[in-house]
């Protein structure tokens, strides 16, 4: 087992486009880390560079203590699970899993026991002599996992392994991967565009956008203290609401006002904004943190014209407009709200995130 360090990792394509821009991530030995971000953000490119399938323009990758930049994939002690499974179509499941070990001239007895063990973990024993073409998608995915497990690599790399599965299988396989991680105590780097997947599976998550690392942290850290507007909006479903509010300082009392909304900051926020010298800020608040009815003390009040009401069972999801913006809230089902109503929704200062409207960075102190 080994940790992986990405040091200023950069990938530039021939046309000049930067796919990955100075990625710095320190992955601990045995950690399950997810690379997450929208399509084309560079997460898969970064993974492939760790695997050795893409050339590195600059920067370093260290697996354990070794710099692996110039090592071919097979010398990096890694295993990879591809989105399309990439199983050898002409080989049986057994041979698919045994292939890597055969190449290393492992004694047959050892190969057999390793394959049997992996098959047992993944419930593939019945299929060992079948070919991939005879298996379902979920079974193929497990073979791909088995192929990786058998090699006992230092690092597991997974490239959106669940995207081709239906919803139910996805949930099942997710749990299985988590179980394997616990059992093997292996370092796993998992790429996905689905933030729910990332949040549920990862010890830590690296959010990447346009090749640049936005934030690395535990799910809780990303959820409670997103460091910039992108992370704030990316993590959490439904996503965070954002409104721009103008800062007004009247005799030392700071208030933020917008069209249909008003924010009375608490002391920390006031202190921050008084010295901040900003005319306006972007305030973010999660749908699940809104309540029906205004707050009188410090906090945010948003006047919303209800548009859509969706019944979720225990909660109600409401959409509305406020000052030209869409606002989404999740509130208790007890409320007798109707479409067309105008309500005031509020959030306490603890639940507010303030961002610099220009740099989009989190303004320290809140939350």
């Amino acid at each position: 087992m080994a940790g992986v360090v990405l040091d200023d990792l950069t990938k530039r394509y021939d046309g000049g486009a930067l796919a990955v821009n100075k990625l710095n991530i320190d992955i601990k030995d045995g950690e399950f880390i997810c690379f997450v971000g929208p399509s084309g953000c560079g997460k898969t490119t970064a993974l492939r560079m760790i695997a050795g399938l893409e050339e590195i323009t600059s920067g370093e990758i260290r697996i354990g203590d070794r710099v692996v930049n110039n090592l071919p994939p097979r010398d990096r002690d890694i295993a990879m699970v591809f989105q399309s499974y990439a199983l050898y179509p002409h080989m049986s499941v057994r041979d698919n899993m045994a292939f890597g070990l055969q190449l290393r001239k492992t004694p047959k007895a050892d190969i057999d026991s390793a394959v049997e063990a992996a098959a047992k973990i993944l419930d593939l024993e019945r299929f060992l002599d079948r070919k991939p073409g005879q298996l379902s998608g979920g079974q193929r995915q497990r073979v791909a996992l088995g192929r990786a497990i058998v090699r006992e690599p230092s690092v597991f790399l997974m490239d959106e392994p669940l995207s081709n599965l239906d919803a139910k299988l996805r949930v099942q396989t997710r749990a299985e991967i988590a179980r394997i991680h616990t059992r093997l105590e292996a370092t796993m780097i998992y790429v996905t565009h689905d933030q729910v997947e990332a949040m549920t599976m990862g010890d830590r998550i690296a959010v990447i956008n346009e090749g640049v690392l936005q934030q690395v942290g535990t799910p809780k850290e990303l959820y409670e203290t997103p460091l910039n507007r992108f992370v704030a909006g990316f993590i959490g479903s439904p996503s965070m609401n954002f409104i721009d509010l103008a800062v007004s300082n009247e005799g030392g009392v700071v208030t933020l006002k917008g069209d249909g909304s008003e924010l009375r900051p608490d002391d920390t926020m006031s202190a921050l904004l008084r010295d901040g010298g900003l005319d306006s800020v972007t305030v973010g608040f999660r749908p699940e943190h809104l309540e029906v009815g205004p707050v009188t003390g410090p906090g945010l009040n948003v006047t919303v014209n209800l548009d859509v009401i969706e019944f979720l069972g225990n909660d109600v999801l409401i959409h509305g407009g406020s000052g030209g913006r869409d606002v989404v809230a999740i509130v208790d089902v007890d409320n007798s709200l109707k479409v067309g109503d105008t309500v005031v929704l509020s959030a306490s200062p603890r639940r507010l995130h303030v961002f610099n409207p220009v740099s989009l960075a989190r303004m320290i102190g809140t939350g």
Partner: protein, 479 residues
């Protein structure tokens, strides 16, 4: 006209729907559309029935009758085919083609397809190799016949072989062509006899201070002129040295007299001579001057013969008859039937090379398309699993390419069974018989007066040979 990458666009070979589309029969139109689409079938159907289906049956029937078409002889034609040496030769040649060619062409196609992925000028290469498909087998056969010409002056291959052969075995100034019936011994005239190993030697010995005259005949004056020979001159004797003369013992003025050095006889210039001791060992060497004289200085007291060394008579390279039917397998001592079966005409090799030149591009393009369609991630998985380039190729890429390789192999197999044009145009008239194939025999029999029955039988045999491929195609389309 830009040169496009031939493999970029691949026509979908697999139909997107079932063999008969079952997704709802067309609605609307009524009996008129029913009739209309059936009418569309008519021209094609009629054409095929008249020119393909009916003749197919007619040929089978015809094969059961004799040459004139009137007498029913059942399998008589077939028996004749399998028992005549000539036709056995044809069958054998077909076997040679079938065994050698599809394998070679698929192999080269695979190698080229794999290698062109690694270079930048892949499109240009593919175009060059693919282009000969555009040639008719006739033009290609004629082109390659010119490449394989006998005469090293006009045939590229023989010129190259000659260059190598002459570098390895340089010809002498006075070549003796043993294949034309000449012999070294035949050159001996006066005082000269044959020696071991293709040499000539003096009949008598000579010691220091002596002179010896050696006369040869059968040397062409043109060759002498080429070697700058002048009139023969007997050298003077010299103390402690052996001197002598080698001259052409033929005088135009005294054509029948031998032994005397006439004034109109030429010396033999540039001839390598050596001292031959009594025990057979070869000593000092020298070369004759333009007047044929030579001298060995400081020879001691022994008596020597003069040896005219073998390298003088080394024949130059004459050219290999690539387009002949000389067998590459040693069959000359076998009976005619076995000979017919086992001999391997050299012209077959030449023609196979020519045919490879035409069709390797086809194999390369088809396999290349298959290669491009492979799932890259499987190959990457192999890399990660630890396979080297070669291991990936051998254990993953090629097995995954198996369907494509089979298609190419079978297509070429069928193609080669019918091989015809290239033989007509490449094998020389004398070689046609030894190189003929089934298709050639069909044509020859057809064109002859009474061979129609045989031709029909041969055609049926040809058909039977392609049936396995036919079944394979059908299976592929249905499955």
């Amino acid at each position: 006209m830009s040169v496009a990458d031939p493999t970029v666009d691949v026509l979908p070979a697999e139909p997107k729907q079932d063999v008969v589309p079952t997704i709802g029969s067309p609605v609307g139109g009524g009996w008129k559309s029913h009739l209309g689409s059936l009418l569309f079938l008519l021209p094609g159907a009629v054409w095929l029935l008249v020119i393909v289906v009916y003749p197919f049956i007619a040929t089978i029937v015809r094969s059961l009758f004799d040459g004139s078409g009137t007498r029913f002889i059942a399998l008589g034609n077939y028996k004749a085919i399998f028992s005549t040496t000539d036709t056995i030769v044809s069958l054998k040649n077909n076997v040679v083609w079938v065994v050698v060619f599809p394998f070679l062409v698929t192999f080269f196609g695979l190698v080229f397809a794999v290698l062109t992925e690694r270079i930048r000028w892949g499109t240009a290469f593919k175009t060059i190799v693919f282009m000969p498909l555009v040639f008719s087998a006739t033009a290609a056969g004629l082109t390659w016949a010119s490449i394989f010409f006998n005469d090293p002056h006009t045939g590229v291959v023989n010129a190259a072989v000659q260059g190598v052969a002459n570098a390895v075995n340089p010809p002498g100034l006075y070549p003796v062509d043993t294949s034309a019936g000449e012999s070294v011994g035949g050159l001996a005239a006066t005082g000269v006899e044959s020696g071991p190993g293709g040499t000539l030697q003096s009949k008598s010995t000579v010691t220091a201070g002596g002179t010896i005259e050696l006369g040869l005949t059968g040397i062409s004056p043109t060759v002498l002129q080429q070697n700058h020979a002048t009139t023969a001159r007997i050298p003077t004797s010299s103390n402690g040295a052996i001197t002598g003369l080698v001259w052409r013992d033929f005088s135009p003025s005294h054509p029948t007299e031998r032994g005397q050095v006439f004034t109109d006889e030429d010396g033999i210039a540039g001839l390598h001579v050596a001292l031959l001791s009594a025990d057979g060992s070869v000593g000092a060497k020298t070369t004759t001057a333009s007047d044929g004289s030579f001298s060995f200085a400081g020879v001691g007291s022994s008596a020597y013969r003069i040896q005219i060394t073998a390298n003088n008579f080394q024949a130059g390279f004459n050219g290999i008859f690539f387009l002949g039917t000389q067998s590459l397998t040693p069959t000359s001592s076998l009976n005619p039937t076995l000979q017919a079966i086992l001999s391997l005409p050299i012209v077959d090799i030449a023609m196979i090379i020519a045919y490879l030149w035409i069709w390797a591009g086809f194999a390369m393009v088809v396999i290349g398309a298959g290669l491009a369609a492979l799932n890259r991630e499987v190959l990457e998985a192999a890399q990660i699993d630890g396979a080297s380039e070669w291991q990936t190729l051998r254990r993953v890429t090629v097995p995954m390419l198996r369907p494509v390789l089979v298609v190419v192999f079978v297509t070429m197999l069928i193609n080669v069974l019918k091989i015809f044009d290239i033989i007509l145009n490449m094998a020389t008239p004398s070689s046609q018989g030894g190189a003929s194939t089934i298709a050639l025999d069909i044509y020859n029999d057809f064109a002859s007066n009474n061979g129609q029955g045989l031709a029909a039988a041969f055609a049926v045999i040809l058909f039977v040979l392609v049936v396995p491929a036919m079944l394979m195609n059908l299976k592929r389309i249905r499955g």
